[in-house]
């Protein structure tokens, strides 16, 4: 980025983010969810909600889906608040230890995403093969869509959840 205007814009953006980070790093409003035990309980709850979302959507219980999604959104937001949003800040804002922990976090998140994607593919292929033999009913396209949303919510939760699970003090 050699354009002076672009550089100035970038500096301004970084300054804005830095000010927000300063506020977040000293924010005590969410200290009630910052103890490690509570963070881990929240992480378990979030993934239980994702599993419940997948289950109820797959077996067609739409009345449960919206409340579960709202609960999932609130829980994920609480996890992000408990980790002070560190997983989202650019490198210029966080210090070297946080960068190192965050790098590890994203590595695990990538691995987790790969595992979820593989499970999805294996489920699909296994279902198709067994359906051809007449052992099970074939999964419909709608059901696969439902599961893909479940996968999306799980992968979206991963970075914050892993950081919240692993970091002893925040």
């Amino acid at each position: 980025m050699t354009n002076p205007d672009a550089q100035k814009l970038r500096r301004e953006m970084i300054d804005n983010v830095r000010r927000k980070a300063e506020r977040d790093f000293h924010d005590t409003r969410f200290d009630f969810v910052r103890p490690l035990g509570r963070r881990r309980a929240l992480v378990i709850f979030v993934f239980a909600l994702v599993a419940a979302y997948g289950f109820f959507n797959y077996f067609d219980y739409p009345e449960f889906v919206l409340p579960i999604l709202i609960l999932w959104g609130i829980s994920l937001w609480l996890i992000r608040m408990s980790t002070r949003g560190i997983v989202d800040y650019p490198d210029e804002i966080v210090d070297e230890r946080m960068r190192s922990v965050r790098g590890q976090t994203y590595r695990y998140a990538f691995m987790g995403t790969c595992v979820f994607m593989s499970a999805y593919m294996v489920f699909y292929i296994a279902n198709q093969l067994m359906a051809k033999q007449g052992w099970v009913a074939p999964t419909t396209a709608d059901q696969m869509h439902d599961l893909s949303f479940c996968l999306f919510f799980a992968c979206m939760s991963l970075p914050s959840a892993i950081y919240a699970w692993n970091e002893r003090l925040i």
């Binding site: 966080v94 210090d95 070297e96 230890r97 946080m98 003090l169 925040i170």
Partner: protein
């Protein structure tokens, strides 16, 4: 080459807590002086994080001491023991 697990890597000992207490500085003050989060200073003091060369040099500059006086690969004797030893040698 097999990479060692983090728990198997050689620890870096330091006397950051003693120096900080000696100079009456809080973790927050040290953190602001070297540009890190105050919890990173806590992690350093407990030996749970190994600083980069840059951070080690910044800390040594802050305390006006050589790096090896603050960080070591071997367990460090307490400052009172060192003081006692140096007095015994000089007397």
């Amino acid at each position: 080459m097999v990479r060692k697990k983090r728990s198997e890597e050689a620890p870096v000992y330091n006397r950051l807590a003693a120096l900080r207490a000696d100079q009456g500085l809080t973790r927050q003050q040290v953190a602001e002086a070297v540009g890190v989060h105050y919890q990173t200073i806590g992690y350093l003091e407990r030996g749970e994080y190994r600083p980069s060369l840059l951070l080690a040099l910044q800390i040594s500059r802050l305390f006006k001491l050589p790096v090896e006086a603050i960080f070591s690969l071997d367990p460090m004797s307490s400052m009172s023991e060192q003081l006692f030893d140096s007095k015994r040698i000089s007397s």
